[in-house]
């Protein structure tokens, strides 16, 4: 019988903190390792679809009303495979498939216009300082409710220098390493290149087309990503610590439309566990999470 099967019947209250931790780790280990082929296929399929939209849209074969929602979906789906790469889930430095890890990390977020290195460094800061008002670069999404978050996010995007940009730049500056400086420079180049592409295509007579391919999808998709990947799993974002800075939650949209974020608490406990294993790991670890005082809202 597996450890996770027996944990359901054990009286966890009788275990010491160290015993509980050992039990938690032994269960989590069953869900670690292996190549996340699902995420790799997801990354390249999503990118291929988005790239194929360009000739189809620019040639007029695909109408704009079809391009915009597909491109928005591509933007929404482009982040998580890169997130797997940020955590070296595909392969670590020195391993045979590290090149694949980096390829997914760099290519997957192209529709989003995200610089992989800047995302990785700032995301590590988020893990290190989750819910810390000063040090967590994702704290801009902290809001009283879901609607409050959406309104706040749109208002922020209407600023010429959104707060989110500033907080990421500050996190890189705070790191102060050569790697962080380089990552900041690359992110800046990405932002300028995006504007150059938009302006170039617009003056070539394709303004509506690039608006449907890039501009609108990033605005709409950005809100969706920040809602489900940042606000929802950390709401109310008031507590600090391993078992309190992230929550489990049940969404009316289900696990697929929330991109697995209902079980994000597992990711913060075990960042190198592949996304597709989070639901099963959550079910196996749930009694321990309850014993640890994790916030599990309806799940």
């Amino acid at each position: 019988m597996s450890v996770s099967a027996t944990v359901q019947e054990r009286d966890l209250g009788a275990l010491s903190t160290q015993e509980l931790m050992r039990l938690e780790r032994s269960i989590a280990e069953q869900f670690m390792g292996g190549l996340p082929w699902g995420s790799i296929a997801w990354a390249f399929t999503n990118l291929a679809v988005w790239l194929s939209l360009w000739p189809l849209t620019l040639s007029g074969m695909l109408p704009l009303w079809a391009t915009a929602p597909i491109a928005t979906l591509n933007v929404i789906l482009s982040y998580l495979p890169s997130h797997e790469a940020q955590h070296r889930i595909i392969a670590r430095e020195g391993e045979r498939l590290f090149w694949l890890n980096q390829l997914v990390g760099h290519l997957s977020p192209v529709p989003l216009g995200l610089s992989y290195q800047a995302a990785r460094l700032t995301h590590y800061e988020h893990h290190k300082h989750a819910n810390d008002m000063e040090l967590d670069p994702d704290m801009n999404t902290k809001s009283d409710s879901g609607w409050h978050m959406i309104v706040k996010d749109i208002r922020s995007q209407l600023q010429t220098v959104p707060k989110m940009n500033t907080s990421y730049a500050k996190a890189l500056e705070r790191l102060g390493t050569e790697e962080a400086r380089r990552a900041g420079a690359v992110a800046l180049i990405y932002a300028l290149a995006t504007n150059a592409v938009l302006i170039g295509f617009a003056w070539a007579g394709y303004a509506l087309e690039v608006a449907a391919l890039v501009w609108l999808p990033r605005i709409v998709g950005g809100v969706y990503i920040r809602f489900f990947l940042s606000w929802a799993p950390h709401h109310p974002a008031t507590d600090l610590g391993r078992y309190r800075d992230t929550r489990g939650f049940r969404s009316r949209l289900g696990n697929i439309l929330t991109m697995g974020m209902q079980y994000h608490v597992i990711h913060h406990l075990y960042p190198r566990m592949p996304l597709f294993r989070h639901p099963a790991a959550f079910r196996a670890l749930r009694p321990i999470l309850v014993a640890r005082g994790c916030r599990l809202d309806g799940i």
Binding site: S115, Y168, I199
Partner: protein, 90 residues
């Protein structure tokens, strides 16, 4: 989690201004100036042709005329300039 390029991800919306670098070199200052003027550049560079194309598609009679471009430049330029001064697009 992410945001879109500077890093908005880590960039705000496309067309938003990344935070200006603090470098004091000539290159850094030129880049700073470019970024400071980005809302106006975006207004003229993207919003203007977008408005022009919208007018041409909405009003078929405007397709061969020059005035949609003029209107696009006025709207895009003014909008970008105001955004540059106020720090907000709306």
């Amino acid at each position: 989690m992410p945001r879109d390029s500077v890093a908005q991800p880590p960039g705000g919306g496309v067309g938003s201004d990344p935070p200006a670098p603090t470098s004091t070199s000539l290159m850094g200052r030129l880049l700073g100036l470019l970024l400071q003027g980005m809302p106006f550049i975006f207004g003229i560079g993207f919003i203007a042709p977008l408005m022009t194309q919208l007018l041409e598609r909405t009003l078929p009679s405007a397709a061969q005329a020059q005035w949609p471009l003029f209107v696009g430049l006025v709207i895009g330029g003014t909008w970008g300039a105001v955004a540059n001064v106020t720090g907000r697009w709306l």
